[in-house]
């Protein structure tokens, strides 16, 4: 009986999230097509969507599977650089086809990376697991810093740590140039494409969470030993969540990469991983709605703070600390609740007087 009730609230929640995405898309698409949007916001629509995907995919690992990952940006960069290569190889094909294939290949490559990294990582626990994911994030960044890729008539050339080893035709084009990254990427990402991807990923995650597999993952999170004694393999289920999450980050990275004409490995460092983790924690661990909203708000916030000029990032830091204090400290929370109650009562009183 209770389970049925749970399932129904879960699917209700799922539909709220679909609703949010649809409303997000319709509102902004209308604003864009009617020209009623600032170009600042318009330019951010695709990155916002990418960060939303990053946030919900990380939430799958941090919230549902219960493992703190500090290297999520690494998978994003794997997807991003793969997408750059794929889309340059498909030069001449139609843009939607290039975008689609880039996303799929990017997601697959990131999934492979996630699987390989998951083997050592998921043997560890707690903070040790966190530091190893951080280490892998940095390792991916370092390896990409040494990666040189070029295309000429003979096909794709790879070189590691030595740009002169590419052995290209003089007419060939270097598409990934070590630490200087990729230059001259064709900007084929579109807002509607990004939103469709977000929607697909949201559907996958929510169905996964509400499935038998999802319940197994959460059971392992809540009590590994009990779950194990029920015959569930922790490694298998943790690995599933980790790999799926990595592939989604790769897909987000693919869209992100194809929205800018240049991309450097340094972009996907520890700070980007942390940024996404902040979305997840502020939105509420395990709460997909929260992740979506937090990602949207926190990506736009630094832009809104531009009028503080020099104080911008300082204000951002203060806002972050205050929000964490207010939402996590029982005393402060209680005070704010009572304040809000009083406030509401005053409003309703005022309303009655009128």
């Amino acid at each position: 009986m209770k389970m049925i009730k749970n399932a129904s609230t879960a699917s209700k929640k799922a539909f709220i999230n679909y609703g949010i995405v649809i409303v997000f898309f319709v509102v902004f698409q209308t604003l864009v097509s009617t020209g009623n949007i600032t170009s600042a916001l318009k330019g951010q629509l695709i990155p916002i969507t990418c960060y939303m995907i990053m946030a919900i995919s990380l939430n799958l690992v941090v919230g549902i599977s219960g493992e703190l990952s500090l290297g999520h940006a690494g998978f994003m960069s794997v997807g991003a650089f793969t997408a750059v290569i794929v889309s340059s190889l498909m030069d001449g094909a139609s843009n939607p086809a290039r975008l689609l294939v880039s996303i799929i290949v990017g997601a697959i490559t990131a999934a492979i990376a996630g699987f390989l990294i998951g083997i050592p990582v998921l043997r560890l626990n707690g903070d040790y697991l966190a530091i190893v994911t951080l280490a892998f994030g940095e390792i991916i960044k370092n390896i990409l810093n040494c990666l040189y890729v070029g295309i000429d008539d003979k096909g794709v050339h790879f070189a590691f740590n030595n740009p002169n080893a590419l052995g290209m035709d003089p007419l060939g084009k270097v598409i990934i140039n070590g630490p200087m990254g990729a230059v001259g990427i064709s900007k084929i990402a579109t807002f509607s494409g990004a939103v469709i991807l977000l929607m697909v990923i949201l559907i996958i995650i929510q169905n996964l969470v509400n499935s038998r597999t999802g319940r197994a993952i959460m059971a392992i999170r809540d009590n590994r030993i009990a779950a194990e004694s029920m015959g569930l393999s922790p490694m298998k289920y943790k690995m599933l969540a980790f790999t799926v999450s990595a592939s989604m980050a790769g897909a987000a990275g693919a869209v992100y990469a194809l929205n800018y004409s240049t991309l450097v490995p340094k972009k996907f460092d520890f700070n980007t991983s942390i940024l996404v983790l902040v979305f997840v924690v502020l939105g509420g661990i395990g709460n997909m709605t929260g992740s979506l909203i937090a990602a949207g708000v926190l990506v736009v916030l630094p832009e809104l703070l531009r009028k503080f000029s020099d104080y911008r990032m300082l204000v951002y830091a203060i806002v972050l600390i205050l929000v964490m204090l207010v939402t996590n400290n029982e005393k402060l929370k209680g005070k704010i609740d009572t304040f809000l109650k009083k406030f509401r009562m005053n409003i309703s009183k005022g309303g009655r007087k009128k």
Binding site: L124, N142, I143, N145, N161, P179, V278, N329
Partner: protein, 290 residues
């Protein structure tokens, strides 16, 4: 080879001093204090200002840095971390990250973006020739300081009452309270010691690599955190061994393999160590109770 080894030990000693701060705070408050790296930077700026603007001699400047950082550590703990004592460790982690952004950007506003060249503090100390390799004054001071700090901390935590209280709190907060230990005071003290050490590390770091920017502390902070985990987080000798090993691996990797891949190799070694010893070199093995 020997020259690289000495450079590695010198860099590793600095990592070790920073790692001690991480390890102590983690042991007691069970939190990853990401703002620790930025306390290093504040220590560097304070000693820089005391020497360049106030004309204070080097030892006084170091003391000033230690004092300011100690106070900063206590204030940060009181304002940002203490209200979250009951919250999840992730919430504290994010707050620490917020604090790190705050310190970096405050430093940017106070001291500006232009890097400062840190003056050579150890002009009076002569470099030593050791088996044909040159040991720079900073290296000597770093290694000696590391040894002294390490011994002093070990004595402090094993011989003094306050030190024992610290260990008690890290073992079991609830039981420590029942034994009459003031947990809040002990945590504040830990932050104070950790931040004071960060100030010393800041001075050494800036003397060895004399460029001081608002972001100076972040990368050494992450490396030192890695060192703390490497040696077994929560363990004082572990932090020292982890720090020195990390420094040596980093320098040797840069010299003999590739300067681009040095960080990747450092992190790779960390991963290998953790696979075989999941709680670091000297970390306690925690057995699960069913």
């Amino acid at each position: 080879m020997l020259a690289h080894l000495i450079n590695g030990i010198s860099l590793g000693s600095i990592y070790a001093i920073i790692a001690l701060g991480y390890t102590m705070v983690y042991g007691i408050a069970k939190m990853l204090n990401f703002a620790h790296g930025d306390v290093i930077m504040v220590g560097g700026y304070v000693s820089f200002c005391s020497m360049m603007y106030l004309g204070l001699p080097a030892p006084v400047a170091i003391l000033a840095a230690v004092f300011v950082c100690t106070v900063l550590g206590i204030v940060v703990e009181r304002l940002a971390y203490k209200p979250l004592r009951a919250a999840t460790s992730l919430a504290v982690l994010i707050t620490a990250i917020g604090m790190s952004y705050f310190l970096q950007n405050a430093a940017l506003l106070i001291w500006g973006a232009n890097p400062k060249a840190f003056p050579n503090m150890f002009k009076n100390i002569e470099a030593i020739e050791f088996a044909g390799a040159r040991v720079s004054p900073v290296a000597i001071v770093s290694i000696v300081a590391n040894l002294i700090i390490m011994i002093a901390l070990t004595l402090f935590t094993t011989r003094t009452k306050v030190g024992k209280a610290m260990r008690a709190v890290s073992e079991d907060k609830g039981a420590a309270t029942l034994m009459g230990i003031n947990v809040n005071f002990t945590i504040s003290l830990t932050f104070a010691i950790g931040s004071g050490l960060a100030a010393i590390a800041g001075v050494l770091l800036c003397t060895a690599y004399p460029t001081l920017m608002p972001t100076t502390g972040s990368m050494p902070g992450i490396k030192a955190f890695t060192a703390a985990v490497f040696g077994g987080i929560g363990s004082i000798p572990g932090a020292m061994i982890g720090g020195i090993l990390l420094g040596i691996i980093e320098i040797l990797a840069r010299a003999y393999i590739s300067s681009e891949l040095a960080d990747a190799i450092v992190f790779g070694v960390l991963i290998v160590v953790l696979i075989f010893r999941p709680t670091g070199l000297l970390g306690k093995q925690v057995h699960e109770k069913v």
